[in-house]
Symmetry: C2
């Protein structure tokens, strides 16, 4: 099928797909608030059965159920090749409600956009993928390969229970390649995909100086937990934003020349970024003459996400705080280990005399980067070129984080993330939406991608 044929078939199936998605979006599946889990799972299972898949609802290892789905290759398909889709049925909390222009769980179409919590992240993607499967099943010879799904219900709370399921059901989820949950178009309407993800060591540093808050006049002789924390942090990164913790960069896998080339060609506008966030200072990469694209993809970070000590209200309170806390988010690249990062920071603090500062790991995940030359990666990119009007963009890894490493480690497969979002879809924010045009093209891309999947992998 060529582009026009595919899009024509997708358009025929679109009204039904949109109705199905709207129904799915009516479930307020907020994992952080334990809402609507069983009924959403039931609906997901129903959608899969409707398009001819079989399911297993896995719920014996804790947390919200993980839905497994399987669609067998058709009579003319290649049953020796299997693709796995990773999705999640849970969504972010909708709060603050007053900032929504429509009801977050009453999906509403306005000007070609479908508004609802979860439309972009990631209910729209699951329905797009199931619709692509339905379209392929209507073709003579059926599905071109085996298709599996792993649909979890705790992505929005950090996938705390995913690893045990993947380890226990490794055989069940075994596949040759994986399509990850998200993706979409950038400011220039280019579909933006990634073949990997950064890791994370999200740490909390706590300094306790005393059992009670004190009157600040005792600052003449009592040590101050807030000053201690400030001094400690200042030894970890210098004013040039260089991370000074020994061992922090241990094990980092150098990107290949090809990966570097791809990244150097990623679209990026310093002006647009500065305008988007209202930045008051130049990018930190300017001083070090580093390409911000390279920093985004290949460099680990150490970001203070929060500082908290003593009195933070209006005006003056003369207190010498008993304690001080910092939240530190280290984004990691392949080869770095969150536990090792934590140890390095602990050793650093000890070496600098800050034995009164404790470090707690809040979230630790390794990075994952697929082989950029894997035929699957090339195939997803090539088929995107068939459907999308603009040249697609594929980055070796995202700047963000997700549980991709667990898939890579357990299933040993290449992963590409692509989806039906766009830069303005307000993921995690009020007025989340997808554009129906992107939804349509996303279905079409999956139709084409799945059609040639087995052949691409057999090359």
């Amino acid at each position: 099928m060529n582009k026009e044929q595919v899009l024509s078939i997708v358009q025929e199936n679109l009204p039904h797909a949109i109705e199905k998605l709207k129904q799915y979006l009516r479930f307020p599946t907020v994992s952080a608030q334990h809402k609507a889990i069983p009924e959403t799972v039931e609906y997901v299972v129903k959608m899969i059965h409707e398009v001819g898949g079989e399911t297993k609802v896995l719920d014996n290892l804790g947390g919200n159920p993980v839905v497994y789905a399987f669609f067998a290759a058709g009579s003319e398909g290649d049953a020796s090749k299997t693709i796995l889709f990773y999705d999640h049925y849970d969504v972010q909390p909708p709060e603050p409600f007053h900032e929504w222009n429509t009801e977050p769980f009453d999906p509403t179409i306005i000007d070609g956009k479908l508004y609802a919590r979860g439309a972009a992240d990631n209910k729209g993607d699951l329905v797009a993928r199931l619709t692509a499967i339905q379209i392929l099943q209507q073709q003579a010879g059926g599905l071109p390969c085996n298709i599996k799904f792993l649909i979890e219900g705790e992505e929005e709370i950090g996938s705390p229970n995913l690893e045990p399921y993947l380890r226990a059901y490794k055989e069940l989820f075994q596949a040759d390649a994986c399509i990850w949950e998200f993706g979409g178009k950038d400011e220039n309407e280019r579909i933006s995909m990634v073949a990997g993800i950064k890791g994370m060591a999200y740490l909390e540093l706590t300094c306790v100086g005393a059992e009670i808050d004190m009157h600040s006049s005792v600052g003449a002789y009592v040590d101050n937990a807030a000053w201690r924390l400030v001094q400690a942090l200042a030894t970890m990164k210098n004013q040039q934003n260089e991370i000074l913790v020994e061992g922090f960069f241990d094990g980092i896998e150098e990107p290949t020349a090809d990966e570097k080339k791809v990244v150097s060609e990623l679209p990026f506008s310093e002006e647009a970024t500065a305008a988007l966030y209202g930045l008051k200072r130049p990018l930190i990469t300017a001083a070090s003459q580093v390409d911000p694209r390279e920093a985004m993809v290949f460099h680990p970070t150490m970001t203070i996400c929060g500082l908290d000590s003593g009195y933070t209200g209006e005006g003056a309170k003369t207190v010498l705080p008993k304690s001080a806390k910092a939240k530190l988010d280290c984004r990691l690249v392949p080869g770095q280990d969150p536990q090792h990062i934590m140890s390095c920071i602990e050793h650093h603090l000890e070496k600098h005399g800050f034995t009164d500062i404790t470090v707690t790991m809040i979230n630790g995940q390794k990075a994952y980067r697929s082989d950029f030359h894997h035929p699957f990666v090339t195939h997803v990119l090539d088929t995107a070129r068939v459907i999308y009007d603009h040249e697609p963009v594929l980055s070796p890894n995202a700047a963000g984080t997700g549980p991709m490493y667990i898939f890579g480690e357990q299933l040993k497969l290449p992963v590409v993330s692509t989806g039906v979002g766009w830069v303005g879809c307000k993921v995690h924010a009020p007025n989340e939406s997808i554009r129906l045009k992107d939804f349509e093209e996303g279905i079409a891309h999956m139709v084409v991608m799945l059609s040639g999947f087995a052949k691409a992998l057999s090359k």
Copy 2:
């Protein structure tokens, strides 16, 4: 009158004084919450009239009214000498209510202690002073000198309107010496008095990096306001707690040898201090081999009272904060100027490249230290020896702050602070109380002090 005679007369007057104080304490005069101001002023005026004083309620210069009181010297008194008492009729907010064992505005006597918000700070002192005056007026010949009061209603919110009143009514409040509002007994039952007070530059440092909070993944190239603030603060004080801001120590008046001697003899126990606050680290004066007493009285401080940036709740939120704030309390000694301190910090930040950090003055007050050899200072100390069982302690200045400099500057008089509190009276906290024994002795001390005041100043 000797000690026994004085205490006997005080005891006669005590029941009436306690009733008067309880009535005064029933007004919930919380200046921060604009509560009960007019009715409290009316009651203060009534108390003054009852013991033969005349009053003016000054309210033409903004803020809560300032009550002026005047008691003329008796027929045998010395009308050429005038003493001024500084008090305030406002109190701290009583919150948190659930931590009170009694109602904060329903004064309750339990085991010789009178519990109520304001009992120690400073309603008890005003009633003690008025009771001493009443006792002296019952003696043949009446009051031994002229007595004035300045009773303000905004001390607990930083006396923001006091200076204009003192400047405009300089003549009205003119006196030869001043008794300040507070004081009380230490852990060893010694009455602890001060002849001065530290100043303050309470500053807020703000770094704004962007107009909106960002996803922390952009930390690879976007500068971070929290890191900027941490780095800036770390240049202002080193790990040895030395203040590194150029000009910070400008103009400091060296304490005299006598003042140093007195301070070196102040009671202080490092163990007791560590136990009181539950300190986790040694005093900062230990490393520099400074006497903590000397640091408390003679050294300026730079204390972080608060740090605030980004996400400070439970767990992880992956945010790159748009801004970061620090509250900085610099306690100043005589000769230092809060405005100069602020300028020095601004210059320091500029010199170190932190032009993106702004400094705001929240509270600026100069220090004040009376001539330690002034006959008035000696007289207050000597008369304390008459009444109190234990050797009194008089420090050149307190570690805390108050509007004493305004009095010193406008009225050019020596000031000593003493009162009816004790170390356990929980000023500003729930279950504030005074011990009735301290109240009684405080009245007696004022009777003896006033009796010999004119003669002491004529020496």
